[in-house]
C-alpha cells in the first residue's frame, strides 16, 4: 500500500466522495431479483453491483459430496470479466477461490444445515461491477438470498469493512480508499448472537486502532442488518398484497 498522492481526506475532514469517516456509502437492496433461483438478492453499495442467488436445499450432486448429518453448503464468489477497470479473466483467480471459502464459512455459521442432511445448498455471488468491499456486499446480498429461498437461518448476516486512511480509522472503503488505504478489515456479523462470522485483515494497525476499527465495522453491520430486514419485508408485503388482491378478484 503506497503513500497517497491525492488526499483521501480534505481540510473539512471529508472523504473523496464527500462522506464522513464513519459514514456508509448509499446502499440499495432488492430481494427476489431472479426468476429461476430459489432465492436471490441484488445489492448496490457505492459502485458495487452484485447479484446473489441460492439453489436448494436440493439433491447433492455428485452424490459423494453429500453429508449424512447436514446439508453441504457450496459457495462461489465470482467477478464478471467487465466488473473491473482492466478485463479480468473469467477463470477463478486465487483471490476468488479464497473468498469463496471464507464467504461460505461466514454464511454457513448462520444456516441451520442439520435440518437438511444429504442435500446441498448452493450459493452463487456474481460481482457485476466491483468497488471496494465487494466480499462484504456479496455476503450481505447472499444472506438475503438464503432468507428469500426459505433456508432456515439463525440470523441474517450483514457485512462491512473498515479501513485506515491518512492515519484515521474509517468505515466502508471505496475502491480508491481500498487501494491507497493503510489497512482493510472486512467483518461479517450477526447482531443478536454477537457472532463475528468472517474477519480478515491486511495492512497495519496498532491494537487500539484495531479495536476501534472492529467497533466501527460491527456498528455498520447492525445498520446494514436493519436495511436487510426492511428489504425482505418489502418483498413479502408486496407478495401478500398481491395475494389479497387476487383473492378479491376471485370472489
Amino acid at each position: 500500500m503506497s503513500k497517497p498522492e491525492t488526499r483521501l481526506i480534505d481540510e473539512n475532514g471529508l472523504r473523496v466522495d464527500g462522506r464522513r469517516l464513519d459514514e456508509l456509502r448509499p446502499i440499495k437492496l432488492e430481494v427476489g431479483t431472479l426468476d429461476k433461483a430459489d432465492g436471490s438478492a441484488y445489492i448496490e453499495q457505492g459502485k458495487n453491483r452484485i447479484i446473489a442467488a441460492v439453489y436448494g436445499p436440493r439433491e447433492a450432486h455428485p452424490k459423494h459430496i453429500a453429508l449424512a448429518d447436514r446439508a453441504v453448503i457450496r459457495c462461489r464468489y465470482h467477478m464478471a470479466p467487465f466488473s473491473v477497470e482492466e478485463r479480468k479473466s473469467p477463470a477463478p483467480s486465487r483471490r476468488e477461490l479464497e473468498l469463496s471459502k471464507v464467504i461460505r464459512e461466514a454464511l454457513e455459521t448462520s444456516i441451520v444445515s442439520e435440518l437438511y442432511p444429504r442435500t446441498s445448498i448452493d450459493i452463487f455471488i456474481e460481482v457485476l461491477q466491483s468497488d471496494g468491499g465487494s466480499r462484504c456486499a456479496g455476503i450481505t446480498a447472499a444472506s438475503l438470498a438464503l432468507a428469500d429461498a426459505g433456508v432456515p437461518l439463525r440470523e441474517i448476516v450483514a457485512a462491512c469493512a473498515a479501513t485506515k486512511i491518512e492515519g484515521k480509522i474509517a468505515l466502508d472503503p471505496s475502491d480508491i480508499e481500498d487501494k491507497m488505504g493503510e489497512a482493510d478489515l472486512p467483518v461479517a456479523f450477526m447482531p443478536k448472537s454477537n457472532a463475528v462470522t468472517l474477519i480478515q485483515m491486511d495492512g497495519s494497525l496498532t491494537e487500539a486502532e484495531f479495536n476501534q476499527a472492529l467497533d466501527l465495522a460491527i456498528g455498520a453491520c447492525r445498520k446494514i442488518n436493519e436495511l436487510q430486514i426492511e428489504a425482505l419485508k418489502r418483498k413479502y408485503v408486496a407478495v401478500r398484497e398481491q395475494a389479497e388482491e387476487s383473492r378479491e378478484v376471485a370472489t
Binding site: 477461490l97 497495519s204 496498532t206
Partner: protein, 273 residues
C-alpha cells in the same frame, strides 16, 4: 466452488476427552492452553535454493525454499520487486492430501503467509528493482508441508520467515542503465519479522497451536499476524463457528504477546542477534 469439507472421522470418546480436558485448562499432550509444542528450526538444508528452512512444530514439519529470478514487475508497481508465495500440501504429508491442482486450503495457507510478509514490508521490494518497469527480482517463497500434525498456518509462516532471514542472493549494481551481476552473495535486507499466531476455539475455550487431533474438534480459528513493533498486519478467520467481538480482542492480545516469544526463537535460530 467451495464446499463444506468432509472431516475425517474421530471417535466420539476421543472428541469428548479432548473437549473435557480443555474445559479444565488441560490438553491431551499435557500442554497448557497457551503453550506451543516444541519448536525446532533448521536452516540451509537446501544448497541449491537461495535460502531454506525446515520447521518442526511438534510432529508438524514444514519446509520453505526461496528462489530468486529475474523478471518483469507488475504494471502498478513498476519500481518494485515481486513477491510470490505458494504452498504445496504435499501428498506424503497426510492421508487427506491428494495430488493435483492446489486445494482451497493450500491457497488460503499461501495467501495468509503472503499477507503477513507483504503487509509488514518484511522484504525490501523497492531495493529489488533493476530497471523500472522492465527488470526486477522476483522472490519465490515455496512453502512445502511435509508432515501435517496440525497448525499449518503458524508453522508455514515461521518456516517462510526463517528461510527469508537466511537467504542470500547475488549482489547487483546498476550503472548508467546497465545491470552488473556480481559474484558476491549478500543477504536480503529483511526489514520486518511477521509472526502468525493462530487461536483455536474448542467448545468455547481458546487454545494455541492445536495438534491435528485437536483441530478435528476446533469450531473456528483466528490467525493474527503481528510485526516486530506489535502491530497487527494480517488476520484470517477460518472454520464454520463464530467468535464474539470480545473473543477476537482477547485473541489479538494473546497473539501479539505470543508472537514476541516466537520472534525471539526465530531470531535465535537464524542468527539475527
Amino acid at each position: 466452488m467451495s464446499s463444506t469439507p468432509q472431516l475425517p472421522p474421530i471417535a466420539k470418546i476421543e472428541q469428548r476427552t479432548i473437549v473435557d480436558l480443555i474445559a479444565r485448562g488441560r490438553r491431551i499432550d499435557e500442554r497448557s492452553p497457551t503453550d506451543y509444542r516444541e519448536l525446532k528450526i533448521e536452516t540451509g538444508l537446501v544448497q541449491k535454493a537461495n535460502g531454506s528452512a525446515l520447521v518442526h512444530l511438534g510432529k508438524t514439519k514444514v519446509m520453505t525454499g526461496i528462489k530468486v529470478e529475474l523478471g518483469e514487475p507488475f504494471p502498478d508497481t513498476p519500481d518494485q520487486g515481486v513477491l510470490t508465495v505458494n504452498a504445496e500440501l504435499v501428498p506424503l504429508a497426510s492421508p487427506s492430501f491428494e495430488p493435483g491442482p492446489p486445494s482451497e486450503g493450500a491457497i488460503e495457507l499461501a495467501r495468509v503467509v503472503d499477507r503477513g510478509l507483504r503487509e509488514s514490508k518484511a522484504i525490501p521490494l523497492e531495493k529489488l528493482c533493476m530497471e523500472p518497469g522492465k527488470k526486477v527480482i522476483i522472490v519465490f517463497v515455496d512453502v512445502y508441508v511435509l508432515d501435517h500434525d496440525g497448525n499449518l498456518i503458524d508453522a508455514s509462516a515461521m518456516s517462510a520467515l526463517s528461510a527469508l532471514l537466511t537467504s542470500k542472493m547475488r549482489r547487483f549494481e546498476v550503472e548508467g542503465g546497465e545491470v552488473h551481476m556480481k559474484d558476491e552473495l549478500v543477504p536480503f535486507q529483511m526489514q520486518n519479522e511477521p509472526v502468525a499466531v493462530t487461536v483455536a476455539k474448542i467448545d468455547g475455550n481458546m487454545v494455541l497451536d492445536p495438534c491435528l487431533e485437536e483441530e478435528l474438534v476446533v469450531s473456528s480459528r483466528l490467525t493474527v499476524t503481528s510485526d516486530r513493533d506489535g502491530n497487527v498486519v494480517a488476520m484470517q478467520k477460518g472454520g464454520m463457528g463464530p467468535f464474539t467481538d470480545q473473543e477476537i480482542r482477547q485473541a489479538v492480545k494473546i497473539a501479539i504477546d505470543k508472537g514476541r516469544e516466537i520472534r525471539e526463537i526465530i531470531r535465535g535460530a537464524t542468527g539475527q542477534g
